[in-house]
Amino acid sequence: MTMMLKTTRVVGAVLALAVVAYALTYLRPGMPSGFADQLHVYRSRQLWFLLHIGGGAVALALAPSSCGRVGGRGCRTPRTARSCAAFTG
């Protein structure tokens, strides 16, 4: 199977899942209660919430400087080349 076909199938499956899940949200009786209630849920799961927000913030801050940077410079700069050498070596 070609990569393009694989990608198309994955994207198709994800979109189908999204449509079904979105439809189920409206088929089930009663929408969720107000968004303010969600904050109580987050407070009751503080550890997971902090892990998610903290990890996400670090990942977001570092994404542009990691090896896979958009533009393809990545390991070509001296500083990131040393980092990649240490990583792959």
């Binding site: 899940a21 979105y22 969720p32 997971w48 998610h52 903290g54 990890g55 896979g68 958009v70 393809g72």
Partner: protein
């Protein structure tokens, strides 16, 4: 170094995201959407790290780009939400945001990796870069 820190951060954030997805506001749509995002995010990073450890930097860069696109979901969520809320209302907008925040990002990166400016795809472009400068990845 930033790649390693980034990978650990993503895995931690994905674990948190998966745990929070079960209680996501917006119902099953967001539970499945955010849950799938968390799994896909972790998967992209794991594949990128494994590729880097094998020295396959072309594959590493492609998967790191996919991971970066999913990381950017935090930003696109906050861009989509006010726009959609103005059109369909907050609840309807939020119910679909679990998907809208990351699927278009991923589709864009897939297009970017496969686009062929002047007959050359981005993936081929990355491969050429690695081949041109083999000393850049040699161990110290």
């Amino acid at each position: 170094m930033s790649g390693r820190v980034s990978a650990v951060a993503v895995l931690a954030a994905a674990a948190g995201g998966l745990a929070l997805a079960w209680t996501a506001y917006g119902g099953p749509s967001n539970t499945v959407g955010f849950g799938t995002l968390a799994l896909a995010w972790a998967w992209c990073v794991v594949v990128a790290v494994r590729a880097a450890r094998r020295g396959d930097l072309v594959r590493h860069r492609a998967w790191a780009l996919r991971a970066a696109a999913l990381t950017f979901a935090a930003v696109t969520l906050r861009l989509w939400l006010p726009v959609l809320s103005a059109v369909v209302g907050f609840d309807a907008a939020y119910a679909g945001i679990g998907w809208l925040c990351w699927v278009p990002n991923l589709v864009f990166v897939e297009w970017w990796l496969r686009r062929a400016p002047a007959g050359r795809s981005a993936a081929q472009h990355l491969e050429r870069d690695v081949r041109r400068e083999p000393t850049a990845v040699a161990p110290d």
